[in-house]
Subunit: 423 residues, 2 copies
Amino acid sequence: MARKKKYNAFYAQSGGVTAVINASACGVIETARAHKDKIGKVYAGRNGIIGALTEELIDTSKESKKDIAALKYTPSGAFGSCRYKLKSLEQNRAEYERLIEVFKAHDIRYFFYNGGGDSADTCLKVSQLSEQMDYPIQAIHIPKTVDNDLPFTDNCPGFGSVAKYIGVSIREAGFDVASMAKTSTKVFVMEVMGRHAGWIAAAGGLAAENEGDAPHIILFPEIAFNKEKFLKRVDRCVKKYGYCAIVVSEGAQYKDGTFLADAGSTDAFGHKQLGGVAPVVAQMVKDELGHKYHWAVADYLQRAARHIASATDVDQAYAVGKAAVEYALKGKNAVMVTIDRKKTKSYGWKIGEAPLEQVANVEKMMPRNFITRDGFHITEACRDYLLPLIKGESYPPFKNGLPQYVTLKNKAVDKKLKKKFTV
Amino acid sequence: MARKKKYNAFYAQSGGVTAVINASACGVIETARAHKDKIGKVYAGRNGIIGALTEELIDTSKESKKDIAALKYTPSGAFGSCRYKLKSLEQNRAEYERLIEVFKAHDIRYFFYNGGGDSADTCLKVSQLSEQMDYPIQAIHIPKTVDNDLPFTDNCPGFGSVAKYIGVSIREAGFDVASMAKTSTKVFVMEVMGRHAGWIAAAGGLAAENEGDAPHIILFPEIAFNKEKFLKRVDRCVKKYGYCAIVVSEGAQYKDGTFLADAGSTDAFGHKQLGGVAPVVAQMVKDELGHKYHWAVADYLQRAARHIASATDVDQAYAVGKAAVEYALKGKNAVMVTIDRKKTKSYGWKIGEAPLEQVANVEKMMPRNFITRDGFHITEACRDYLLPLIKGESYPPFKNGLPQYVTLKNKAVDKKLKKKFTV
């Protein structure tokens, strides 16, 4: 019997990186390496899908076992990611054809795309076009997004670790402010990511386990901001607890859709206010209630904070990468790997799948019943959903007081195509 | 032989709190409890020294052994702190006299004051006045400040943990930006505390272990900001490494002493710009070089981050609290406990002391040879000094994904004085 031919795999990271996207890469590469009889090399795209378009492939087989294992605890995108959305097939068929040309040239028949909604869409189109072009490619989407907004999957790898970071941070800052409030700072405002959905802001709510705990107020993008109601709540909170800790989503907005962050001042040159939404909210409190404030904008710190990653998140990120390879070996195509919550009393999860046709371009928003009626906090239902996702600590190794993250060699694969492609 | 009378102790937390000031409180209380034959109760000031002035004392003997032990891993000030500087003896002798009256009423002869430069000064004056008033009080100052600016002590408890947080954070954010730089963010600016001295900003420099590592640029308060030179450096960095990560001290300033943070815009109402220095620096880069940027302001998150505290810092914070009680029992007075670096090749430290007369109102600045000649980074000498201070991880216990910090009962001691005192 003739030995079945082995094909290579292509893996790329897409969009904003997370504390655990490299754990998914680790899952993909380690699992592929465990099936050397069926999968040849895993090539990674340098800077994501751009690397495929420009034929800048990275040969992951040049990396040591130890370095690949270290991806499991290294934040960011080890091969580079990109914010580059492929246009529709109608608008730019050439891009998709180029992808397939590159895959063909490098004997790639497995396409693992690790990203959010846009990359699910790209993944689907590559699969569709490969059929049309009679070059079979199995395209598997590996979910990743701190925004937690992909459908079908119970949650998205990357989110649990941001959620944990935000919960930990607002708890710690809350303790700080509580000790200072008598003579100093009475109001603390922490800005978090999530322009379209309040999942990350909601995670801050987990820190409030008992009456009076921080955060006292959460401002969600889903709830139209009402200045008067907000200030009344802050005032009540300061009177009752001595201080007020607020988590505000960068996407917090007025009823008419104007972002609070955009409602600030312009400078002498007409530039829009430089700050985010936290200073806007803090200043509002100062102007109307006169309290001394502090504010923080965690920005990238929150999504890069591998040092305080959720062990559940790390495990799931690895598992979706591993499952993607296993699905490919089972012949699956045009699917997204999902995390399915078991219907048990205590939290459990297993790997599942969803057809990409149904995934692409659908955003999962926070259910209204996850936000309290008054719009300022999370409900028990939300807490039940979120809590398991931040469980467990998964500390990276430290040396000299700092986490030891890996930087890969990222050796280039020789180009085979004569034609250059500019993105 | 008549049994020697036991006296009570008073402990107060002063100024901005830290991730480890409660570890010092733990050292004081546990050590006092171990000497019940000599020390009666430890009363804590509710909201710092204000609690002594208003006779709002907390009876720490009502707290369980377990809860006191939990202080070792709980950030913030468990009894409340305050920003309240006692005036000079000449200006407000009444305040000092009141302190001594309260101490007298509660049979307090040990005064442990846990704070920075201002509290060292207060501590000294209480000691001096107690002699004049013929009511002997032993006043011991326990150092605490994230600013690391107290003299005589090699370093200040609280600083090492902020330093570690900043080093970890800029490393993680650096990895993030490096993966995104091809198509998105090329410049990241992180603002850190330290209005007068660049110690905290310098700590960020520890993350840059190898050529090209983040941070690439540090803006110190000690080095006059030169916009042209700075932008040239950013440009070079982006060209060479693809991105540029910057740590900026909130105290960064122009040659004339104007803070960069104050040089921003005003809004329609004439309010000064709401943001900190990070957005100002980021916008400068955008305007002149056109790079996409992100910025973060860690604010209280940095000094409250007990989850990533330095084990060295925790140990030292506990040790200075413990030593304060032991010094008091040895009859010492008007001294500050210090941390003395051993003159050995590998880092070692021991507890020492410095007379408060020499400590009060002296600020320890960063030596110029800790900053590179070009003013944008730290030297090897600085690295040698800082590195041991962030060593070791001292994780708090977690439950349900979040750190479990203690909130004490903080039961009030019955007042004994009829006269009220308003601060």
